[in-house]
């Protein structure tokens, strides 16, 4: 059963990328609070408060994922949680700058929310989505790097709401990667940042991006995430990497892979 094997593989590897990720895996939980309850169309989201230093995270239980929306993106509800955590594992494997721009995310069971199934738990950064477009002006380099990340993971859902920017802290985070990793025949990627980079004529690869693609291509198991994603989605990610490396530029959102 794919779901069990993929989930076990992910659970086995979690916690290896630093203290923050490990905290998401096993920090004691002192409070759970559902947000945006009753909101139509969106995935169910909870704020999780951990003991000790009082850090928080956002939790999306698998059984709270909008099934129709997931299906429209070519995903089962449980795959949304796996994609969210896998995006972090890709960022962590590639290292900076991506590991600094994507908040850590794990899959974890939280019985207080749903005793039947786990969900994705992402480290909280800051709450301001209102000024996300300012990031293009104040930190264009990070937005360019994120456009590359979106092209690599086949992000289908990079909208301004998924970019967090806090000018007072000069801090930026890219979130919500549940709708990503399409198979070759699946929904194509859709990223406002990727489109923006193409419009600027900056779709040529930079050295760090070439290195990252080589890491993906040279890896025997797609940076280790093949076991969480399944063969088809992992093969599509490798195909995207090879296509970009061969053409020395980012693929377009609507580009059909060879």
């Amino acid at each position: 059963m794919a779901i069990v094997d993929q989930l076990h593989a992910l659970l086995h590897d979690q916690g290896a990328s630093g203290a923050e990720e490990q905290g998401l895996v096993d920090a004691p939980i002192v409070d759970v609070d559902r947000i945006h309850e009753g909101e139509q169309g969106a995935n169910e989201t909870w704020v999780i408060t951990f003991g000790g230093v009082g850090d928080q995270g956002y939790y999306k239980p698998i059984n709270g994922v909008n099934g129709t929306l997931a299906a429209l993106f070519g995903l089962a509800t449980w795959e949304v949680a796996l994609c969210e955590a896998t995006a972090w594992r890709v960022a962590a494997s590639l290292g900076a700058p991506w590991s600094e721009l994507v908040p850590p995310c794990v899959v974890r069971a939280i019985d207080e929310v749903d005793p039947r199934a786990p969900g994705s738990l992402v480290a909280q950064r800051f709450g301001d989505r209102e000024r996300s477009l300012e990031a293009l002006l104040f930190d264009p380099q990070s937005c360019l790097r994120c456009a590359f990340f979106d092209a690599l993971i086949g992000n289908m859902d990079r909208r301004p709401a998924n970019v967090l920017y806090e000018p007072s802290r000069d801090d930026l985070a890219f979130i919500d990667h549940g709708f990503a990793f399409p198979s070759r025949s699946g929904t194509m990627s859709h990223s406002d940042l990727l489109e923006w980079r193409h419009r600027l004529g900056l779709d040529g690869l930079e050295d760090r991006e070439r290195e990252a693609l080589d890491e993906v291509i040279d890896s025997s198991d797609c940076l280790g995430v093949e076991r969480y994603l399944g063969d088809e989605r992992a093969e599509a990610m490798i195909a995207r990497a090879k296509t970009m490396r061969a053409r020395d530029r980012l693929i377009r959102s609507d580009e059909v892979l060879p």
Partner: protein
């Protein structure tokens, strides 16, 4: 045919009803003249489609375009519906 309702999330006020039909879409409600009818992500193909070229895909794509804490869209009728996703029970898998 696909029918989508766009509602204000806070109080469920109906802002627009969008119906797909052969060759285009029909919009009614307070947002009738405000709804952006530009090409957008069509679902489930993932291609950018116009309301005229593929009305069903374009209309379904509204539920991806509108899902904020302020405004959200939902499919209320679809002649060719996608699965809604049954709840899964993974306790045994997690415990193993």
């Amino acid at each position: 045919m696909v029918r989508v309702e766009i509602r204000q999330s806070t109080d469920d006020t109906l802002l627009a009803t969008v119906d797909s039909a052969p060759g285009g879409i029909a919009v009614s409600g307070p947002w009738e003249r405000l709804l952006d009818r530009s090409p957008q992500l069509g679902l489930p193909s993932g291609r950018i489609v116009s309301a005229e070229s593929d009305p069903d895909e374009w209309t379904r794509g509204l539920i991806a375009a509108f899902r904020s804490p302020d405004v959200a869209a939902r499919i209320v009728h679809d002649d060719d519906p996608l699965p809604d996703g049954e709840p899964v029970d993974l306790r045994a898998a997690i415990a193993a």
